[in-house]
């Protein structure tokens, strides 16, 4: 069984930590530190297996790691896993990341830890290998991403499509009523109102007073002097 999967960079900064056995947070950090110290002092031309870490599992466990450019991928496993097999598994993991992020680098892992976790969850579950077929993993991940996108869509997607059309003219009122919706304001920049915008203001106001729309502010209104 895989006890933990740790990814950290050449300076020991963690980039991904996943424990399949419960440890309190302090101990987790200690394990990362110890593992880093053990792994980082090894040359590149020595074998990828390491024994003697004291924190997880004692003598029954091994550290199996691979070093890619700036990152160490370390799997802590017990004796029931094949050492060479785990090496292959690390390779599959990294290749999958590479396909997901297109030329994966440390920055991808930093800014998308959640995504890396999702990918890992399709590869390993509860400390056991779940799926090693890369295209299957990628397909599932993209399906789930699509599902997420669909949800954030709906209202938001439509409003985002043409927020500026609101500013265009007196037709704003009709557009607004057509949307019949939430006008969400994220940021109001320079609420400078000139003559051309009075109409808009009026229509917004009328809509407000008619209680035909509810206001939750999310989208950007640009009141711009140049917009006629």
């Amino acid at each position: 069984m895989i006890k933990a999967i740790l990814v950290f960079n050449n300076h020991g900064k963690p980039r991904l930590i996943k424990f399949y056995q419960y440890f309190v947070e302090e101990l987790q950090q200690q394990i990362i530190k110890e593992t880093f110290q053990l792994v980082s002092k090894r040359d590149d031309n020595v074998c990828n297996f390491l024994e003697g870490g004291s924190l997880i599992g004692g003598s029954d466990y091994k550290l199996i790691y691979r070093h890619y450019a700036t990152l160490y991928f370390v799997f802590c496993v017990d004796s029931s896993e094949s050492e060479l097999g785990i090496l292959d598994l690390i390779q599959v993991f990294v290749e999958t990341l590479d396909k997901c992020f297109e030329n994966v680098c440390e920055l991808d892992l930093i800014f998308h830890v959640d995504k890396v976790h999702y990918i890992l969850n399709e590869l390993v579950m509860g400390g056991m290998v779940l799926e090693t077929n890369m295209s299957e993993i990628l397909a599932r991940i993209s399906e789930q991403n699509k599902l997420e996108k669909q949800e954030t869509g709906l209202a938001a997607a439509r409003a985002r499509a043409k927020p500026f059309s609101l500013l265009s003219s007196a037709t704003g009122a009709t557009i607004l009523s057509e949307f019949h919706l939430k006008i969400e304001i994220l940021l109001v920049e320079c609420p400078f109102v000139n003559k051309s915008q009075l109409n808009l203001g009026a229509c917004v106001y009328s809509l407000l007073s008619n209680r035909r729309i509810t206001l939750t502010f999310k989208y950007v209104f640009y009141f711009n002097r140049s917009s006629s």
């Binding site: 900064k13 963690p14 980039r15 996943k18 419960y22 947070e25 990362i32 031309n45 020595v46 074998c47 990828n48 297996f49 390491l50 024994e51 029931s80 094949s82 050492e83 060479l84 097999g85 090496l87 292959d88 598994l89 830890v113 959640d114 976790h117 999702y118 969850n121 579950m125 509860g126 400390g127 056991m128 290998v129 779940l130 799926e131 090693t132 077929n133 295209s135 299957e136 599932r140 399906e143 789930q144 599902l147 997420e148 949800e151 954030t152 304001i185 994220l186 940021l187 109001v188 609420p191 109102v193 009075l198 009026a202 917004v204 106001y205 009328s206 007073s209 008619n210 206001l215 502010f217």
Partner: protein, 852 residues
């Protein structure tokens, strides 16, 4: 006022609109939380750890406050940030409940991050688990496969026994789901549940079998993992699954024979992960089972011969195959094939492969030693590998391969290794070399030479028991003494890295056999002054430990009697310089030994005679000099013949333990006069110094004024009883009478008798006489012995000793574990002795009986 009623009023509308927007601005601007991306940037921009902490603390405080406000819009983002913060090692447990809220949300986005947070943040608190169980149950019944997948994945990661029990039914149902994505996750979930609650295995059994008839490799691999776990868990299940061997063989065959399939191909091998898992399961099923092994032989041979070995994956499978062949009852031909594969592995350029080869050979060496012996040279080569993991494996394997035939050749290599080895290896390697040498040594000379090489090569990393072992070996072999003492002398002379064990052994031997060193037929030609000069260097070097110096001092004292024309003056000067040493032990030694050059010079020859040959005991692995206190060490240097376990027991006794087992109260009505205090006193004075004299069968009459106060050290012994040492009393083998106490009119005599039927039991007849004119009332006699002894006090003849020659007698039976001198501490309590004795109720005396 409704503006629509009044037509268009620009000014008015302007104001209202402004108000509306300002309000919006107010609402929106303050709570917009920082994006994850920006937080990460800020953290990365921090130059110092303190700065980073500042950024994170500020953000955490903010996240906490939003959690309080029930602001649901940004919960996702906040949890994502919190997970990042958690990864960096900052506390993030306050996000647990928010994760649960996200899980309960109907949106997939929320659930996804919520479950991720739950997997990472949840601890083993019961209440949170209770809450999440319900959410999991709902989601396991969801119609979206990914929601089910998330729930299964989370359950697999954080299942507690309670959750396992509650949700096992759902998981079992999902194992039969038509959707492969759900099925494989359910299988692994079942695996985790069985890990937590083995009793639940039953309900998964039927669904598990059908997993093997799958086409989908994900389901197959998880199914095989599940079965493996079940088989390891119970013997019954193992029997149950013996039936599936043909199925597994068929799957494996298909994998090998199937041509290229792009989905599962990993550098030219079809799904190595699944192959490895199946091979592993076959190993468990075929272990000690001839029939099952029979069914596997063919396929194992096929895998072993057909697998492409140019890539790592191929070797992975071969490695697993070899392990399986070795574990099951395979044909002998197959075993030869397996060992040959390992031999090829050993020559592989890839370090990883060499490592696993060594590892596997280590596992198989006990099964088939001769086959592994063939690769001995390669294994010894691996001792020189720069990789520490490989060296460690090779070392272990080398020790496993040592036997009487190859000991000489192997030892040469091992000693070379030991010389260059890292400190972490030295202790282990040296003690195993010593063991191997002891077991297989072809001759005593070779054995001693090897030990000397180890002493030189391993330096201070040698375990302490080696020192006493070498000394024992030296004393037991007079033929080698002359040769070895010369060797040790050269080693000592050339030693410039302060190897303590070497110095200890060398000085012991030179002290003991100094005459041989200087005899004309010795292999080194040196003068006495040279020897003394070396001792001077050793004794004054700050690098040497006090224990080593104790060895040196004793040795030097002995040398004064070994040399033909000793420069006693110089030796004496050196020893006396220790009379004011800061180290108490050394000082004591300095003072005591200098007595042997002055007032008691006539004692020196007798006292410093050569030690008798030591009995070679079986090397006990847990006897460390260091673990016994310094007293014991010191003592050993004076009289190494002393059995160490005895002194150990004494030390235990000295530890101030007031337990009742240390003292045995007589069965008579003993007046308990603040016994604890008394016991402490009673034990307090017992000093291990007594041991050093106890081996000589002398009867020691206690000196009235000194023995109560002093430490019974050697010096006092010399002071008080010189005549006994000079000419030991003749010993009556069966019965001897001793007066152990005579003071204030009370005389206590011991007469010891060895019981004929029980060899290690001594009966002591205690008789107390009253020579005063008053009666002693409530007289109680007590005795204590070290823990290793057994003491039985029979009832006394009375508690009152009448005046003018009244006598009370009592019998003591002491049983010792080995035929050893009896040591004990006695005291007597009476209420009617003169005041001085009432004050000093505790009388510390000791008596030595040697029944043999």
């Amino acid at each position: 006022m409704n503006p629509t009623d009044h037509g268009f009023n620009p000014a008015f509308n302007m104001a209202v609109i402004k108000e509306v927007f300002n309000e919006a601005l107010e609402r929106v601007r303050t709570p917009t939380p920082m994006r994850l991306r920006d937080l990460i940037r800020q953290i990365r921009a921090a130059r110092t750890a303190a700065e980073e902490r500042g950024v994170i603390n500020k953000e955490c405080a903010y996240i906490r406050s939003t959690f309080r406000e029930e602001d649901s819009v940004w919960r996702c983002r906040n949890i994502a940030k919190l997970l990042y913060i958690h990864m960096l090692g900052y506390p993030a447990h306050f996000g647990q409940l928010e994760c649960l809220k996200l899980i309960a949300s109907p949106r997939f986005t929320d659930k996804r991050i919520g479950y991720l947070g739950a997997m990472l943040l949840l601890d083993e608190r019961q209440d949170v688990h209770l809450l999440i169980t319900n959410c999991l149950k709902n989601d396991l019944n969801s119609s979206t496969q990914f929601v089910v997948g998330l729930a299964l994945c989370t359950l697999g990661a954080i299942a507690s026994p309670e959750m396992s029990r509650d949700l096992a039914g759902e998981v079992e149902r999902l194992m039969k789901s038509p959707n492969a994505y759900v099925r494989k996750k359910a299988a692994l979930c079942a695996y985790r549940i069985i890990l937590k609650v083995p009793e639940l295995m039953e309900i998964f059994l039927p669904a598990t079998r059908s997993l093997l008839s799958e086409k989908n490799h994900g389901v197959l691999i998880t199914g095989v993992s599940l079965i493996t776990e079940m088989c390891e868990n119970s013997v019954d299940t193992l029997q149950h699954f013996k039936k599936i061997v043909p199925n597994l063989v068929r799957i494996l065959k298909n994998l090998i024979l199937a041509g290229y399939s792009p989905e599962h191909d990993v550098s030219g091998v079809s799904d190595p992960f699944l192959q490895v898992k199946i091979l592993r399961l076959l190993r468990i099923l075929g272990k000690n089972d001839v029939e099952a092994s029979e069914a596997m032989n063919d396929i194992l041979a096929q895998v072993a011969t057909n697998t492409e070995t140019t890539k790592n994956v191929g070797n992975t499978i071969l490695y697993e195959t070899v392990l399986s062949i070795m574990d099951i009852r395979s044909e002998s031909g197959l075993r030869v094939l397996a060992i040959n594969i390992l031999g090829r592995f050993l020559l592989n350029n890839d370090k990883n492969i060499r490592y696993v080869a060594l590892n596997t050979l280590l596992k198989t060496v006990h099964v088939d030693t001769s086959a592994v012996q063939r690769h001995r040279t390669t294994i010894l080569e691996c001792l020189k590998d720069p990789d520490v993991s490989i060296r460690r494996r090779a070392l272990e394997l080398s020790f496993a391969l040592v036997n009487a035939n190859n000991i000489k050749a192997m030892m040469k290599e091992l000693l070379t290794f030991l010389e260059k080895a890292d400190p972490e290896f030295k202790e282990m390697a040296s003690s195993r070399i010593v063991l191997a040498a002891e077991r297989y040594s072809p001759s005593i000379k070779w054995h001693l030479d090897t030990l000397l090489s180890v002493l030189i090569a391993a330096g201070n990393y040698i375990r302490d028991d080696v020192v006493s072992n070498v000394i024992q070996l030296m004393t037991a072999n007079p033929s080698q003494q002359s040769y070895m003492v010369g060797q040790l002398w050269s080693a000592l002379e050339n030693d410039n890295s302060d190897r303590q064990p070497l110095i200890q052994i060398a000085t012991w031997c030179i002290g003991e056999f100094g005459d041989m060193l200087l005899s004309p037929d010795s292999n080194v030609q040196i003068s006495e002054t040279e020897v003394i000069a070396v001792y001077h260097r050793l004794l004054t070097s700050p690098q040497n430990s006090p224990i080593t110096k104790q060895y040196c001092l004793t040795s030097l004292t002995k040398l004064s009697t070994r040399f033909q024309h000793p420069d006693t003056h110089k030796i004496q000067e050196l020893i006396e310089s220790f009379g004011s040493h800061v180290q108490m032990e050394l000082q004591q030694r300095g003072v005591e030994y200098s007595q042997l050059f002055g007032k008691y010079a006539y004692l020196r020859n007798g006292l410093l005679e050569r030690m008798p040959a030591l009995e070679i005991t079986k090397p006990s692995t847990n006897t460390h000099n260091g673990s016994v206190s310094q007293d014991a060490d010191e003592e050993e240097s004076v009289s190494p013949a002393e059995n160490q376990s005895n002194s150990n027991a004494l030390l235990v006794l000295l530890g101030g333990d007031t337990g009742d087992n240390d003292i045995i109260k007589p069965p008579a009505k003993a007046p308990s006069l603040d016994t604890n205090q008394d016991l402490l006193d009673l034990l307090g004075g017992l000093d291990s110094g007594m041991d050093s004299i106890s081996e000589k069968p002398i009867d020691l009459k206690l000196n009235n004024d000194s023995s109560i106060q002093n430490n019974n050290n050697i010096l006092s012994m010399i002071n008080s009883t010189p005549d006994y040492l000079a000419e030991p009393l003749p010993i009556t083998p069966q019965t001897r009478d001793t007066t152990v106490y005579d003071k204030g009119g009370l005389r206590i005599d011991f007469s010891s008798q060895k019981a004929a039927d029980v060899p290690n039991t001594t009966s002591i007849n205690v008789s107390a006489h009253n020579t005063t004119a008053t009666d002693f009332t409530e007289f109680v006699f007590q005795a204590a012995v070290p823990r290793t002894f057994q003491l039985k006090l029979l009832p006394p003849s009375g508690t009152i000793i009448t005046a003018d020659g009244g006598t009370v007698t009592q019998i003591l039976r002491v049983t010792t574990p080995t035929p050893a001198p009896v040591r004990m501490r006695i005291r007597k309590l009476t209420t009617s002795l003169p005041t001085v004795f009432n004050d000093n109720l505790t009388f510390c005396g000791a008596s030595n009986f040697s029944p043999d």
